[in-house]
């Protein structure tokens, strides 16, 4: 399998997983909330492809499913977790936003993951493990002061951290221009942290830039701030979308699946998609069969 085929399969899996969740919500099979990653798949796949799940650490945010799937491949544990079942990666206690599996963590409060990631990077540096700690932020997270405290500490203490800022242009419903002043890379550059910025949904371009970023963090042991401008097609969570439909439509041409898919032979692409669909169907069936959390009092 070529790199692009592998990446396409991962992106397609994330897309269909997230669409499946939204369908299950509409069918009343899921309760609570979820924040889907539809449209941003190339970021997770492009960046995480350069990380070693045995050594490196990923700390993600409320919109964490794409990162989780790309890092762990664990569809069943994630679906059971969102369904609140004991087979979930956190026994159904964490739910959609609060995941932990090996070197993967996520938490649901904007910005609060950055200090914890900073401490993880500090510990890994002290241990000499060679781990790169990657923390995924959004444009909305830039409103949180803790982010800047940690950019300062990461730079001062020369921590092997990769900050990945996915700018999807909306903090829930608030457009970027109402929440983020100045430019995004300059915020990191002010702390003496090297940056790169891409405005693309092409997984091949993101893969190349992320490869350079991860290599640099690993070889220098110093932080790097990678800005990925992107777009989410799905609502912030469910049914809270007030964007102009024409704006969303205009972005469809840049759908990362369409961009990557156009470079694949049609038949090969359908084979990949069919394989992902079959795997996902098996996961859904198994998760639906899995026992629910017991409510018996101990």
């Amino acid at each position: 399998m070529t790199t692009l085929e592998h990446q396409y399969g991962q992106m397609f899996t994330i897309r269909r997983f997230e669409e499946t969740l939204l369908e299950m919500f509409s069918q009343g099979k899921l309760v609570g909330t979820t924040h889907t990653y539809i449209g941003q798949e190339a970021d997770a796949v492009g960046v995480i492809g350069h990380l070693d799940p045995e050594r490196d650490v990923v700390f993600s945010n409320h919109r964490c499913h794409g990162h989780y799937i790309a890092f762990t491949g664990d569809l069943y544990g994630l679906l059971c977790e969102v369904m609140g079942k004991p087979d979930g990666t956190c026994g159904g206690k964490g739910g959609s936003q609060h995941l932990c599996n090996g070197n993967f963590y996520s938490n649901g409060v904007q910005g609060s993951i950055v200090p914890v990631s900073t401490g993880i990077a500090l510990a890994e540096k002290q241990k000499g493990s060679g781990a790169v700690t990657t923390v995924f932020l959004g444009d909305g997270t830039l409103g949180q002061g803790a982010v800047y405290e940690c950019l300062n500490m990461a730079s001062l203490w020369r921590l092997p951290m990769l900050f990945v800022l996915e700018n999807n242009h909306y903090a829930q419903t608030t457009p970027r221009q109402l929440a983020v002043s100045g430019t995004i890379p300059e915020r990191a550059a002010a702390f003496g942290i090297a940056t790169d910025e891409l405005d693309t949904t092409d997984v091949t371009e993101i893969d190349a830039a992320a490869g350079r970023a991860v290599d640099r963090v690993r070889s220098s042991g110093e932080p790097f701030f990678l800005v990925l401008h992107t777009y989410r097609f799905s609502p912030h969570s469910k049914g809270d979308d007030f964007r102009d439909p024409a704006e969303i439509e205009s972005r469809r041409a840049h759908d990362p699946l369409a961009v990557a898919g156009a470079r694949l032979d049609d038949e090969r692409r359908r084979e990949l998609e069919d394989a992902c669909e079959r795997r996902l169907a098996e996961v859904v069936e198994a998760a639906e069969r899995a026992p629910a959390a017991t409510t018996e009092l101990v």
Partner: protein, 341 residues
């Protein structure tokens, strides 16, 4: 017998011993480097001996508890010093939405063995934002342990217990305590008072002036209020011919109640005494639980002694009005209906 060491020195020596014994212990905080050695000098000498394990930080309390949590998640035993207990307010998101939850919400896949040491308390004229006793704000947070050190506790033992604890521990120290002698029980006595100490981590101390004979009330307290309550207990004996039992807790959360219940079973009355504000305080929680569990033992309503609900003024004279003193504790005991004076 040599005079007891001051509490700050006892804590400092305990930290040095911990650093010698455990290579996974790290210390973070503001201004902790030598020669300054921390605002209250608790960390003096550590950075000279272990420069790689002592990290001075920017003034970033909103993040520092999270940084310590990240280290703890990856197998370290970090000790974070927050210079003034008041500044813990900046770290509440990390406490409430992070460190306290990781273990349970990640289904026991992780532990967060971090220690936050911080001094609370007033009576030094530091004013409204540097004098508070805010530990009551931590009491409702499940998943953490809140421990209060007093001048009669084994301070090195408390620190060891906290570092060995797999839960996040908030070790509440006290600014006045640092400069006072660490008055440990000798042959079961602290000065003239008989003193019993519970077994296990985070022990409680129970004091009696008449070897646990008949007593008018139990006074439960902790931390920097202990010397004030002991002075009140002495005054009650000398001026009012009233004996009391004094319980000094160290484990505030989860609340260790057994020594209180045992004492109340003997005395039949309870006064709580704390330096923090009255409303929603430690005393409120103790009172609620004791009346649920020991209603039949209680002869009188429970009385609470605490700071007034308001700011702690900078003026020493006004501060003494705002904070509870010996007279407040004496009044609470003597005013219990039916208690002779």
């Amino acid at each position: 017998m040599p005079a007891p060491k001051r509490c700050v020195l006892v804590l400092n020596e305990a930290l040095h011993e911990l650093f010698e014994r455990r290579e996974d212990v790290f210390l973070l905080g503001e201004d902790v480097l030598d020669p300054y050695g921390g605002a209250f000098k608790v960390t003096q000498g550590l950075s000279d001996r272990w420069p790689e394990r002592v990290l001075t930080t920017p003034i970033s309390e909103a993040s520092l508890i999270g940084v310590a949590a990240g280290m703890a998640l990856r197998g370290r035993r970090p000790i974070l010093e927050i210079m003034f207990g008041d500044f813990i307010a900046l770290g509440f998101d990390q406490i409430v939405n992070g460190v306290s939850k990781f273990r349970e919400m990640f289904d026991e896949q992780v532990t967060v063995p971090l220690v936050v040491r911080t001094p609370m308390g007033g009576r030094r004229g530091y004013g409204p934002t540097h004098s508070q006793s805010l530990e009551k704000l931590l009491l409702g947070v499940p998943g953490i342990h809140v421990v209060a050190a007093s001048e009669c506790h084994d301070l090195g033992g408390l620190l060891d217990d906290a570092v060995e604890d797999d839960h996040p521990v908030f070790l509440i120290e006290n600014k006045l305590m640092y400069g006072r002698p660490n008055r440990r029980p000798v042959d079961g006595y602290v000065d003239e008072l008989r003193c019993l100490e519970t077994e296990g981590p985070y022990p409680a101390l129970t004091f009696s002036g008449n070897d646990f004979g008949e007593a008018a009330a139990t006074i439960v307290t902790y931390g920097g209020m202990l010397p004030i309550v002991l002075d009140a207990a002495t005054e009650l004996i000398l001026e009012h011919e009233l004996f009391t039992e004094v319980v000094a807790l160290s484990q505030l959360h989860p609340l260790e109640l057994d020594p209180v219940l045992e004492s109340v079973a003997r005395t039949g009355a309870l006064v709580t005494a704390e330096e923090g504000g009255l409303t929603g305080g430690v005393g409120a929680e103790v009172a609620a639980r004791v009346q649920e569990l020991a209603w039949d033992d209680l002869r009188r309503p429970i009385r609470r002694v605490a700071a007034a609900d308001g700011i702690i003024p900078a003026s020493r004279e006004l501060e003494d009005v705002a904070l509870p003193g010996v007279a407040d504790v004496v009044d609470a005991v003597t005013s219990l209906a039916g208690v002779r004076s």
